[in-house]
C-alpha cells in the first residue's frame, strides 16, 4: 500500500540533455538570466504542459471527423465556455457553477471522511493493540473493504431514508477500511523500545495514545488517510449520480440525460483536479505532521 511512488516527479530529468562532461568551469561563472527557482519551476511545469497540448491536438484530430461520437476540445470550449470560465455563477437553485457543485460534494466528503478518520484511527488503535481483536476482526475487514462503495447505497438509503446522510455514509464506509487497517499495522509496528520507555515511565493508556502511539504510527496513519480520501472522492461522485442533489456527480448524470457531452468532460476535469488537490493536501499535512517521526 505504499504511496511513495506518487511523490515528486523526476526533477532531474532536464540534466540528462546538458553536456556536463565537457564543461569544466563551474556553471556559476556564466551570468545567469534565470534565477534558480524559476528554472526549476519551468522544468516541472513545461513538460506536463507540452504533453497536455499534444494530447489535446491528437484529441482534436481524432474527434473532428464526421462520424465522431465524442466532442473535440474546440466544441467543448464553444459549448461549455461559461462552465469553464465562471465556476461560481448562480442562475437558479439547480443551475449553479461547477465550483459551487464541487463545494457541495466536498462538504459531504468532509463530513464522511472526517468521521471515518476519527473512528478509523480509534478502531485501528484498539485493533493494533490487541492480538485477539486483530485476529477476530481482520478477516471481516479484509472482506468488507472489497465491497464496492455503491453496494452500500441501497442499505444506507433504507436505513437513513434520506439521500444526504446516505451519501455521507457511503463516504464513511468507503474511507474507513484503509484507515483502520493502516493504523492497526502502524500500531503493531511501534518498536518495543518505545513501549518499554512507556512502561518504565508508567504512561497511562491516554498518555500512551497521544505521546507514543499517534506519533509513532503517524506515517502509517497518513498512508491510510491518503488512500481513504482518494476512495472518498471516487465514491461521492458515484453516490451523487444515484442520490441526486446539486453535487458534481449528479451534474454529470443530469448532463448525460440532456445529452450535454461537453459539460460532462468539463466536469471530469474538475473532478480530476479536485481529487489531485485533495491527495496533495493530505500528503502535505502528513509530511508536516510526521516530520521527525522516523527513527535514525
Amino acid at each position: 500500500m505504499s504511496v511513495t511512488a506518487l511523490k515528486d516527479p523526476p526533477r532531474e530529468a532536464r540534466r540528462s540533455g546538458s553536456a556536463d562532461v565537457v564543461r569544466l568551469k563551474p556553471a556559476a561563472a556564466r551570468p545567469s538570466r534565470w534565477p534558480g527557482y524559476a528554472k526549476s519551476v519551468a522544468a516541472t511545469v513545461i513538460p506536463p504542459l507540452v504533453v497536455v497540448l499534444l494530447l489535446g491536438l491528437l484529441w482534436e484530430i481524432l474527434c473532428s471527423g464526421a462520424g465522431a461520437t465524442l466532442p473535440p476540445p474546440s466544441r467543448i470550449w464553444a459549448d461549455s465556455k461559461d462552465l469553464i470560465l465562471d465556476p461560481f455563477f448562480v442562475a437558479g437553485p439547480q443551475d449553479i457553477g461547477l465550483g459551487l457543485r464541487v463545494l457541495v460534494s466536498l462538504q459531504r466528503v468532509a463530513v464522511g471522511f472526517g468521521l471515518a478518520a476519527v473512528v478509523g484511527v480509534l478502531m485501528g488503535a484498539v485493533i493494533g493493540q490487541s492480538v485477539w481483536a486483530m485476529r477476530g476482526l481482520d478477516p471481516l475487514f479484509q472482506m468488507l473493504r472489497t465491497v464496492p462503495p455503491l453496494a452500500w447505497l441501497p442499505l444506507a438509503l433504507a436505513a437513513f431514508r434520506d439521500s444526504n446522510p446516505s451519501a455521507i455514509f457511503v463516504i464513511f464506509i468507503t474511507a474507513i477500511w484503509p484507515i483502520i487497517i493502516n493504523t492497526a499495522v502502524g500500531i503493531r509496528n511501534i518498536p518495543q523500545d518505545y513501549r518499554n520507555v512507556a512502561l518504565v515511565l508508567r504512561l497511562n493508556p491516554i498518555e500512551f495514545f497521544w505521546k507514543i502511539m499517534l506519533p509513532s504510527a503517524a506515517p502509517y496513519i497518513f498512508t491510510g488517510l491518503r488512500i481513504g480520501i482518494g476512495l472518498s472522492w471516487l465514491a461521492i461522485v458515484a453516490a451523487e449520480m444515484l442520490t441526486g442533489g446539486v453535487g458534481i456527480g449528479f451534474f454529470i448524470w443530469d448532463a448525460w440525460n440532456s445529452s450535454r457531452l461537453p459539460d460532462i468532460i468539463v466536469a471530469l476535469a474538475y473532478i480530476g483536479v479536485v481529487g489531485f488537490v485533495l491527495d496533495r493536501l493530505v500528503a502535505g499535512v502528513g509530511s508536516i505532521a510526521t516530520r521527525g517521526t522516523q527513527a535514525s
Partner: protein
C-alpha cells in the same frame, strides 16, 4: 552488608508451544546502596533477561526482586533503564525527551518551573545542554546515549539499570561516556546495575563484577570484588597490578572455564 536491591532465587523459563527453555537458574545477588555492579557474560547467557526482570519488563518464573524492602514486579521509574539503543522518541527534541520523564515522575510534587530547571540540570549533567532543542536524528550516537542517561537520571531512580549502554559506540566515544558515568556515580552515589560484555569496562567501572555462566540455565559463576580506590583514572590503571589481576580473572573466567560455545 545490607541489601538495597536483592535478587532472590530468580529463575526464568520461556515457553514456546511445547518447548520450554530455562534461561536463568537460581540467580541470587545482594546489592548495597551506592554500589556499582556489572554483569558480564557471553551473548545469549541471559544477562539482558536478568536486567529486564529487575526492570520489571519481563516477569520471573521463580524467585523475586526486592528493592528497598518492597517486592517489585512491574516496571516503574524507580528503576530507570538506559537502553542499549538509546530509545529516544524521535519526534521529540532532546529536551522534550527528558521533560516527558520529568513531567511523568514529578507532576504532582514539583512546579512547572522546577521541572524545567530539573530537566536542564540533568542535560547539563551529561553535557548535553547545548543540544536541548535538537531532535535525536540530528545528534551523534554518543550524544543520544548521553540523553538516554540524562532521561534515566532525571527520574531520580533508586537503581539505574544500564543495558550495554556503550555497546553501540566507537571506542573513543565509549571512553568519554564511561568517564561521564563514573563522575555521575561519584557525585550522586547512584546504585547502578550494568550489563556489559566488555571486560575493561566492567573492571574500570564496577565495585563488583558478576560473571555469568553460559546459557541455557545460566547461573552466577563468580562474583569478583574490584578493590580499586575511587576516583579511578583510566590512564593510571593501565599498569595497576590490582586492575590487571581483576582483568585477568574475568578474562580467564570467560575464555577458559566458560568458553562461548557457538549454539548454531
Amino acid at each position: 552488608m545490607s541489601a538495597y536491591l536483592e535478587l532472590s532465587q530468580i529463575g526464568k523459563t520461556f515457553t514456546r508451544g511445547s518447548a520450554t527453555t530455562e534461561v536463568l537458574r537460581e540467580i541470587s545477588l545482594d546489592i548495597a546502596k551506592g554500589e556499582y555492579i556489572s554483569i558480564i557474560g557471553h551473548s545469549g547467557c541471559g544477562k539482558s533477561t536478568l536486567l529486564n526482570i529487575v526492570a520489571g519488563l519481563t516477569s520471573v518464573t521463580t524467585g523475586g526482586v526486592i528493592l528497598d524492602g518492597k517486592e517489585v514486579n512491574a516496571p516503574g521509574p524507580d528503576r530507570a533503564v538506559v537502553f542499549q539503543n538509546h530509545s529516544l522518541l524521535p519526534w521529540l527534541t532532546v529536551y522534550d525527551n527528558v521533560r516527558l520523564a520529568v513531567d511523568k515522575v514529578f507532576s504532582g510534587t514539583r512546579s512547572r518551573a522546577e521541572r524545567d530547571a530539573w530537566t536542564l540540570h540533568n542535560l547539563e549533567l551529561v553535557q548535553m545542554g547545548h543540544a536541548k532543542d535538537k531532535r535525536p536524528s540530528e545528534i551523534s550516537g554518543g550524544m543520544k546515549q548521553r540523553v538516554g542517561i540524562a532521561r534515566a537520571l532525571a527520574m531520580e531512580p533508586k537503581v539505574l539499570l544500564l543495558d550495554e549502554p556503550f555497546g553501540a559506540l566507537d571506542a573513543l566515544t565509549r571512553a568519554h561516556l564511561q568517564d561521564s558515568v563514573m563522575q555521575i556515580h561519584a557525585s550522586l552515589g547512584n546504585t547502578i546495575l550494568m550489563i556489559t560484555h566488555d571486560v575493561d569496562e566492567a573492571v574500570l567501572l564496577s565495585d563488583r563484577i558478576v560473571m555469568m555462566t553460559n546459557g541455557p540455565s545460566a547461573r552466577i559463576g563468580e562474583v569478583l570484588d574490584v578493590s580499586l580506590p575511587r576516583p579511578r583514572k583510566r590512564l593510571e590503571l593501565v599498569a595497576n597490578p590490582t586492575y590487571l589481576k581483576a582483568r585477568e580473572a574475568v578474562l580467564k573466567f570467560l575464555h577458559e572455564r566458560h568458553r562461548f560455545v557457538e549454539a548454531a
